[in-house]
């Protein structure tokens, strides 16, 4: 939050300052009352007793449940993002192909996998592997989760790649063609490497979506990720609230870290490219820590 004054309101005079101060106090009191009410409710429901929170001081809680769960979550997320990038690049390049049929096929694939819920994809992938392939039942949940995440996020990244390639200056292609490169060479040696750097922040932001979506694997697939491991722990220790608060905090910390990473990479790239923020200063006085609008995949809200 910056302290720069926004253009939405005048520089506060004595009266406005008083009014803001009064409002601040009122809101602060309301928040405190809300916090007190939460504390009171928790206390009344015996949620704050040592017995509920002590398990977090024991090694067993962490080594048996939370850390293995976190490891599975990170494993699924890492595998998904590593496989999604080449899949996304292939689909994105195919959508820019000179051959109409290839553009069509890639377009249909991308639109299809963006239109259906990841959870449905996961369930189907698990059933498919069980029925038609020899994937062992132990490995199946992870493989199914990664498959579904790759299909969905590969499709999202395909759009990001496409926008990234289209955002490159035309002179890049023209110069490459002028020195006698072929279409494939232009794409693989000139355009793709540059597009990758342009979209790196968007890929890191997509990682947040992937990390959150790994939790879907625990609902119907019995994939032992963090949320599911935590659910097991909660029923063992009988402290659902405490466990879920801790698990939510772990996810928040992990994703905020990724979010800051994306912002940092983006800022560094802007400096390297020598460009400032394009356009006017944002009206709110709050800059968008973001990617150029063209590169923001439009279904961030998953």
């Amino acid at each position: 939050m910056s302290d720069r004054l926004s253009v939405l309101y005048d520089h506060p005079g004595p009266k406005a300052r008083r009014r803001n101060a009064v409002l601040s106090v009122v809101v602060a009191l309301l928040l405190l009352a809300g916090l007190w009410w939460i504390y009171d409710t928790l206390n009344g429901k015996n949620q704050l007793t040592a017995q509920k929170w002590e398990p977090f001081l024991t090694a067993q809680m962490w080594t048996t449940y939370l850390l293995p769960g976190l490891l599975e979550t990170l494993k699924a997320a890492a595998l998904s993002v590593i496989i999604s990038i080449p899949v996304g690049a292939l689909l994105g390049v195919a959508r820019l192909s000179d051959h109409a049929w290839l553009r069509w096929v890639a377009g249909i694939v991308v639109e299809f996998f963006r239109a259906i819920p990841v959870l449905i994809l996961m369930v189907f992938a698990a059933a498919f592997y069980a029925l038609y392939t020899g994937v062992s039942s132990g490995a199946r949940p992870l493989v199914a989760v990664v498959t579904a995440l790759v299909l969905y996020n590969g499709s999202v990244l395909a759009e990001v790649f496409r926008a990234g390639i289209l955002s490159l200056p035309k002179g890049q292609t023209e110069a490459a063609v002028a020195i006698g490169m072929r279409k494939t060479q232009v794409m693989t040696q000139i355009l793709l490497p540059q597009a990758l750097t342009v979209m790196l922040p968007a890929v890191i932001s997509q990682l947040v979506v992937i990390v959150k979506d790994t939790a879907l694997g625990g609902i119907l697939l019995s994939f032992a990720e963090l949320r599911r491991a935590a659910g097991t722990a909660a029923s063992v220790y009988g402290n659902f609230l405490a466990v879920y608060v801790v698990v939510a905090a772990i996810y928040i910390a992990l994703n905020l870290l990724l979010g800051f990473g994306a912002g940092y990479v983006e800022k560094r790239m802007r400096v390297r490219r020598g460009g400032g923020t394009a356009g006017l200063e944002p009206i709110t006085g709050v800059g968008e820590a973001g990617v150029p609008a063209a590169l923001v995949p439009d279904d961030r809200a998953t």
Partner: protein
């Protein structure tokens, strides 16, 4: 490809998708209201309001929706005893449970989706040229008037497309309500694995088609509306 399951009474396909539509409808309205309030808080002159909205958005946005929905049931409902439906002893206990789960899911979707709505609206506010706000202040409008009469109407026209993406994401996200026992579209494929694993691909295609029927027109209609409503600058 064997589609004989379509005539099987165990598959209430229309009913399941009707549940998806209901979840989406109530959650979308709630999220739009809460999201607008959060966005207004984020640009308000009162620092405490700004801080609260910022913290709320950044915290809730980073929790997996699965965790949010399951927390609704296991934490809010069973640990803290929040009651969201009327219970008449002895009358239709299953109906009571279904209503409870449905409402808990809707609350979860609203709390989560509102953060994305707020971010979309805030980016929409940023598309309004500063001159608009300066002119509004120059003729003596207060902050609430500047925001309500000048900025938000223009911002809303600019955010129809991003809000359409949020709505489509919400339609797909409603499947997560199955985690707390709401029988929406994902129930079809779960039933399929149990009773007709041999037809699983056909069942998957039918469910996929159902979602395409829901998401594609939504995207196209709102996309056309976004073009029509865009403020010519």
């Amino acid at each position: 490809m064997d589609f004989s399951f379509l005539s099987d009474p165990r598959y209430d396909i229309l009913g399941a998708f009707w549940m998806t539509i209901q979840l989406t409808f109530f959650s979308a309205i709630g999220a739009l209201v809460l999201g607008t309030v959060l966005a207004a808080m984020r640009v308000s002159p009162v620092p405490v309001l700004r801080g609260f909205a910022t913290v709320y958005v950044n915290i809730v946005r980073n929790i997996p929706l699965t965790v949010v929905i399951i927390m609704m049931y296991f934490v809010l409902f069973s640990q803290l005893g929040l009651r969201v439906a009327e219970r008449t002893p002895g009358v239709n206990p299953q109906g009571y449970l279904d209503t409870t789960n449905f409402r808990l899911a809707v609350i979860g979707f609203i709390l989560y989706t509102a953060t994305f709505v707020a971010e979309a609206i805030r980016s929409g506010i940023n598309t309004v040229p500063p001159g608009q706000a300066e002119a509004a202040r120059a003729i003596g409008l207060r902050f609430t008037q500047v925001l309500g009469l000048i900025i938000l109407p223009q911002a809303f026209r600019a955010v129809i497309a991003p809000l359409a993406s949020v709505l489509i994401a919400l339609i797909k996200n409603t499947t997560i309500a199955s985690a707390i026992g709401v029988a929406e579209a994902s129930v079809i494929i779960v039933t399929g694995i149990e009773f007709n694993p041999d037809q699983i691909t056909a069942i998957f295609l039918v469910v996929a088609l159902g979602f395409i029927v829901l998401t594609l027109p939504t995207g196209l209609l709102l996309g056309a509306l976004a073009k029509k409503m865009a403020v010519k600058r």
